[in-house]
């Protein structure tokens, strides 16, 4: 349908501004997630959701002149030319926020008769566009749905934008899973001027979320100046493939960030320990394992770590009879079990060509790391996943 807004921010050319990385401009940086422009040196200019959308649209066409009609269609959702003055006014207002001297712009230019151009020194990396859009995080309300990923409320065929602050307020309340939060604490977290400002924000947000803002069913006031959110969120379903990708990412962190040259992740399934991801000599394409080994619980140092539910540190495999030789010989090994809900769900195994390469400090640190990853492991092993 000509002139209609795109079905969803992901279907159109513009990604939802909520997911965007901060955008560097010559005078400062656009922090999309919090809907503001931070000048070099620190002064902060809040942006309206529309201003953020405009910047996102222009940034996707960085350094090119964008016709006014395109902005009208994609950001305002209209093709009615009588509204074109609205675009001009909005750009002027935005320019006053961005530019040190609006009369001599350095970032947002008007090409008379042609349109507008946003000058971006380093256009966004094209690799970001190749990723599939993230699943929508939807908050189910009585007669409408709040899309927290995209930043709007869908009510029938109406779409009401949420401000960044409103989205952050909902996330704060969601984080505590329905419990009450003190208004003072929320106001501080959201950098509001005080509880009065929060009250006003809640009032405005109720108008967007509730069937009857006077009798709220979701965004509730609790005696003592507290608030809570009564609403269900559809959590994203993570596929088995995504969990495996997460483990590949874990091996990359262990290898490229923590600097361990050879690490393998095992998953414990059906009494066997199977290699599923690797960094270093055992890494195959896409981070899977080149020649995956499977071993029984108790077999080798990895099996021992799983059986004991405690890390095993071997300073010299030459004198360790239990050592199971893999593709490449290694002189020292550290096997760290991954424990979830009292069960061993996997093992993180590191090897090194030199003896005594691993210390107790490594052991402790990696136990902390595997504790972060453990719940995801457990889903991979036995949880409800596709």
């Amino acid at each position: 349908m000509p002139g209609a807004p795109p079905e969803s921010p992901h279907d159109g050319e513009t990604r939802s501004w909520v997911e965007r990385a901060p955008l560097q401009l010559s005078g400062g940086v656009v922090d999309f997630a919090r809907c503001r422009f931070v000048r070099h040196g620190g002064k902060v200019e809040p942006l309206s959701p529309r201003e953020a959308e405009m910047l996102a649209f222009l940034a996707d066409r960085a350094n090119r002149t964008v016709p006014r009609e395109d902005l009208l269609t994609h950001v305002w959702g209209h093709s009615d030319q009588s509204l074109s003055r609205a675009v001009d006014t909005a750009v002027s207002r935005l320019r006053r926020k961005l530019e040190a001297d609006p009369s001599t712009p350095q970032m947002l230019f008007t090409e008379h008769g042609l349109g507008y151009r946003l000058l971006v020194d380093a256009p966004p990396e094209p690799s970001q566009a190749a990723k599939p859009p993230p699943a929508r995080r939807l908050l189910r309300l009585t007669d409408r749905v709040a899309d927290l990923t995209a930043g709007y409320v869908e009510h029938g065929d109406q779409r009401i934008a949420l401000t960044a602050q409103e989205r952050l307020l909902l996330e704060e309340l969601l984080r505590v899973g329905g419990a009450a939060l003190a208004g003072q604490a929320i106001a501080r977290r959201l950098e509001m001027s005080g509880e009065g400002a929060l009250r006003n924000a809640v009032f405005r947000l109720r108008a967007k979320l509730e069937v009857d803002p006077g009798e709220p069913r979701h965004l509730l006031s609790v005696p003592g100046g507290c608030y809570r959110l009564e609403a269900r969120i559809d959590a994203p379903t993570t596929t088995r493939r995504a969990y495996l990708a997460a483990l590949v990412s874990l091996t990359e962190y262990v290898g490229a960030v923590l600097g361990f040259p050879d690490c393998v992740v095992y998953v414990h399934e059906h009494d066997r320990l199977t290699q599923v991801a690797a960094f270093g000599p055992k890494r195959g394409p896409d981070g899977a394992v080149r020649v995956p080994l499977r071993q029984a619980l108790g077999e080798g140092l990895v099996g021992l770590a799983a059986q004991q539910r405690d890390a095993v540190l071997c300073p010299d495999t030459a004198s360790e009879s239990r050592y199971l030789r893999d593709l490449e010989p290694a002189r020292s090994e550290l096997a760290v079990p991954v424990v979830a809900d009292g069960h061993v769900v996997g093992v993180l195994d590191l090897e090194h060509p030199a003896p005594a390469a691993f210390t107790d400090a490594h052991r402790t640190a990696l136990l902390t790391l595997t504790a972060v990853a453990a719940p995801a492991f457990s889903r991979l092993v036995g949880g409800s996943h596709v």
Binding site: V18, E19, R20, A21, P22, Q24, V29, D31, F32, A33, R34, V38, H40, G42, Q128, P134, R137, L148, T149, R167, L168, L174, R175, G177, A235, P236, T238, A242, A245, A246, L247, V248, S249, L250, E252, Y253, A256, V257, L258, G259, V339, A340, D341, G342, H343, A365, L366, T368, L369, T370, A371, V372, A373, A374, P375, A376, F377, S378, R379, G383
Partner: protein, 145 residues
Amino acid sequence: MSDPSSTRSIAELTRRYIEACNERRIDDLDHYFRPEFVSHLRVGDVAGLDRFKAMLLHTYDAFPDVWWTPVETIEAPDRCTIRYYFEGTHLGHFMGVPPSHRRVHIDACEVMHIRDGWVLEIWNYADMLGMAAQLNADNPLALRG
């Protein structure tokens, strides 16, 4: 791009470090960090500026809109302590946790060892348990296991 000088104040160095991270200008860190510097995290040591940049890239992939906000800075002759938080939407894999799409807020503190305008070492005390809880919020785990 000016060379770092020993007359650059610790406060300015700290501000530029945070700005470079927020604005994704990680190569600017070459001007503030010695190549051999080490950052001690609770999950291990990040040894060398290259690995530190790899860590930042991992963070940007996991939280495309990540933003670090300093809360207070405490200076001593060759140390700077920054209490800060980082926030972002968990849209990519982070430390083995697949994207939850939640917005996370993590409190942290780090002590930087600075000499002659260069950062030599960092000790980081981020709230790992709080972070694990937020990242895994849709998939909670009994803490005691």
